[in-house]
């Protein structure tokens, strides 16, 4: 039927903007857009006026000026002559560092606590419940300052290591020093080092990568790749004969033997921390601010993750375990083959949003003086340059970029594991 014509085309009336479903949505959207643009314009003009009054013109030039302050915990080399930009970069790396460390430990801890909470052991499950409630119901900021205070108050100062009969000694065969300034662990050193690769010249983004470490990483990941091959082969053998060959020593071998050989060839040795002057020298040094933040964020987030894990496992009905048991599968196999693959689908989305929260909470680093991006760009740089608008804007963009990346990963995962339904 193409004969019907639209009788309303000819006579457009103004009221149709509101009472005709074809135009109405357009009208509303245009009103919304105008409203939004007006708001935006209003904010912009206010900002422009206010800044003009203050005599500040928005500009990002300060980023290339020398920062003038020092950063104690950093992943790349940096001096107070470097630019604000590089200081911000150090901060960003620190943020990512503590977020990554936190996510890993929070996950491990959270899974353990979550599983313990389901334990048939009364006291263990009760203790885990106490843990979860204690951490979930007290602000994370409080936990951060609390942890910091514990580290400062309970660990020995470096000077306690001094003297004939020191009050404190290094732990683990004199290789690790826990002090109330931070923890020193041995660092890997190479006597026949291959040198460093240098990127980005003298710019603010410059960084060095040790060729030794690259080589070792390549070997290590190559080993992992080989061990995957070995596992595949074991799978094939199992498919063919039903018996699964024991391969763990092969896997370990290909991962570690080449790496170890090259390490020896490069003259690998550990550099131990030593008490020199006011502080320990040498070794890898993790400041207490980092450790406190890392610990507190992990402990706090772990409480949430534990609940997620528990809910995830509980969501897999008892019937699934029983069915697996009735088929003769041992509990650990049941866990690996039946419960975990299903529970993970339930667990991972909220898990990732907790990673996101942890990353955002890492901005509280400022409370313990850990120089993350909020501490550098949003802290000292903002203070010293007085560029509140620019720094806060940059700060938000950085966090937004991190968040969006993480949620993109999450969406991709959710899509890929959707259960197939009728």
């Amino acid at each position: 039927m193409t004969t019907t014509t639209d009788p309303h085309q000819a006579s457009f009336r103004l009221s149709m903007l509101l009472y005709d479903s074809r135009y109405r949505s357009m009208t509303i959207q245009i009103i919304a857009l105008i409203g939004f643009l007006t708001l935006l314009g209003w904010l912009f003009s206010n900002t422009a006026n206010n800044l003009a009054d203050l005599g500040k013109e928005p500009s990002f030039r300060f980023l290339s000026e020398p920062a003038g302050y020092d950063i104690n915990q950093r992943l790349l080399e940096y001096t107070n002559r470097d630019t604000h930009m590089r200081a911000a970069l150090m901060g960003l790396l620190n943020t990512l560092l503590v977020a990554a460390l936190g996510c890993v430990t929070a996950t491990i801890l959270g899974v353990i606590i979550g599983v313990l909470r389901l334990s048939p052991n009364w006291i263990v499950s009760r203790l885990s419940a106490v843990y979860v409630e204690a951490f979930r119901n007290v602000p994370v900021l409080l936990w951060i300052v609390f942890t910091m205070a514990i580290l400062i108050e309970t660990l020995p100062a470096p000077k306690a290591f001094r003297g004939e009969t020191p009050e404190a000694t290094m732990k683990l065969f004199d290789s690790v020093a826990f002090t109330n300034r931070g923890t020193y662990i041995p660092e890997p050193l190479f006597s026949n080092t291959l040198g460093n690769l240098h990127f980005f010249g003298e710019s603010s983004l410059r960084f060095d990568v040790s060729l030794d470490l690259i080589l070792l990483a390549v070997l290590f990941f190559g080993g992992i790749f080989a061990s995957i091959k070995i596992k595949r082969r074991a799978d094939r053998i199992q498919e063919q004969t039903g018996d699964r060959p024991t391969t763990w020593y092969w896997s370990l071998g290909v991962i570690f033997v080449p790496t170890l050989i090259v390490m020896v060839a490069l003259g690998f040795h550990l550099g131990y921390p030593e008490l020199k002057g006011f502080n320990f020298k040498g070794g890898i040094y993790m400041r207490n601010s980092l450790i406190a933040l890392w610990l507190a964020l992990s402990l706090y987030t772990a409480a949430f993750i534990a609940e997620i894990v528990r809910a995830g496992i509980l969501a897999i009905s008892k019937g699934q375990t029983e069915a697996a048991g009735a088929l003769g599968l041992r509990p650990n196999r049941t866990m690996n083959l039946v419960v975990l693959p299903q529970a993970l689908r339930v667990i991972i989305p909220p898990l990732i949003s907790n990673y996101l929260n942890l990353t955002k909470n890492s901005s509280l680093a400022i409370a313990v003086g850990y120089m993350d991006i909020t501490g550098t760009l949003g802290g000292i740089t903002m203070n010293q340059t007085g560029r509140e608008l620019e720094t806060v804007l940059l700060l938000m963009l950085v966090y937004l970029a991190i968040s969006l990346t993480i949620s993109a990963v999450m969406n991709w995962y959710n899509e890929s594991v959707k259960l197939k339904e009728r």
Partner: protein, 261 residues
């Protein structure tokens, strides 16, 4: 309760009972906390027997059947399955479980695995069957339950009746000597009940030892060689189906039958 009529009559002549004892239960007692759920159960099942267990809700039918492959632990008495006594020794439990298949009311298929993977999982990981062989066997049993074409779908995509048939095939893939059914049809629509019962009949015709909790009395008459009536955790009456239905002895049995038939 319901009484679905099966399309073809079961061939009783094929169902032979041997002298060999498959399951022996002696003076078994079980408690849930302080609640005495199974009381002094004595039961001997021979190889090839098809036993239907009936009884009012809460009488302990499921619990009894679940004790036989130790999904529940009993506290007193003996359960000997195929010569292996069920104790807290995990090896015995493993042995028994690999010889006893179980089908649940709610199918309990693994939703993250395809039908074929559901069927090959246990043979591969428990029996250490080569994958190829396991798959062939799985296809064989899927054909038997008449759904080979669904092998690569996921359980969520199948109807209830199809899912229950997959569950049966999955158990069969472990080549059990004994099959336990716990109300396999009570979550299904009448149409589907028929499909599943027919599958079970054909299983009985092949001489499988079966213990089946069900209220499908048509099935019991057709297939069972013994009907056990439980009430309040005890075996109150057992008899051949003919006798059981036409001439119940105990008052409780009579009451129960009057209600469900």
């Amino acid at each position: 309760m319901s009484s679905i009529t099966l399309d073809h009559h079961a061939d009783r002549s094929k169902m032979q009972v041997s002298e060999e004892v498959a399951i022996e239960i002696n003076g078994m007692n079980k408690w849930y906390g302080a609640f005495h759920v199974l009381r002094d159960i004595n039961l001997t099942v021979n190889q090839g027997e098809r036993i239907v267990i009936a009884g009012p809700s809460g009488s302990g039918k499921s619990t009894l059947i679940r004790c036989i492959n130790r999904l529940e632990e009993h506290q007193e008495g003996q359960i000997i399955v195929d010569g292996t006594e069920l104790t807290s020794d995990l090896k015995n439990v493993d042995k028994v479980r690999s010889e006893v298949g179980m089908v649940f009311q709610h199918f309990n298929l693994f939703p993250h695995l395809t039908i074929l993977e559901n069927c090959t999982l246990a043979p591969i990981w428990v029996r250490k069957t080569p994958k190829k062989e396991a798959e062939e066997r799985a296809m064989h049993f899927l054909e038997k339950v008449k759904i080979p074409e669904q092998a690569h779908k996921y359980p969520g995509m199948l109807s209830g009746g199809q899912q229950q048939r997959v569950a049966i095939a999955r158990s069969l893939c472990m080549m059990p000597r004994i099959m336990l059914f716990d109300e396999p049809t009570s979550a299904l629509d009448p149409e589907m009940i028929k499909e599943v019962l027919e599958t079970m009949v054909s299983l009985a015709e092949e001489g499988m030892t079966m213990l089946c909790v069900t209220h499908e009395m048509g099935f019991a008459k057709e297939v069972a060689n013994r009907v056990i009536f439980m009430d309040a955790g005890q075996i109150v009456e057992q008899n051949e189906p003919e006798e059981f239905f036409n001439n119940p002895q105990s008052e409780r049995t009579k009451l129960f039958l009057s209600q469900i038939l």
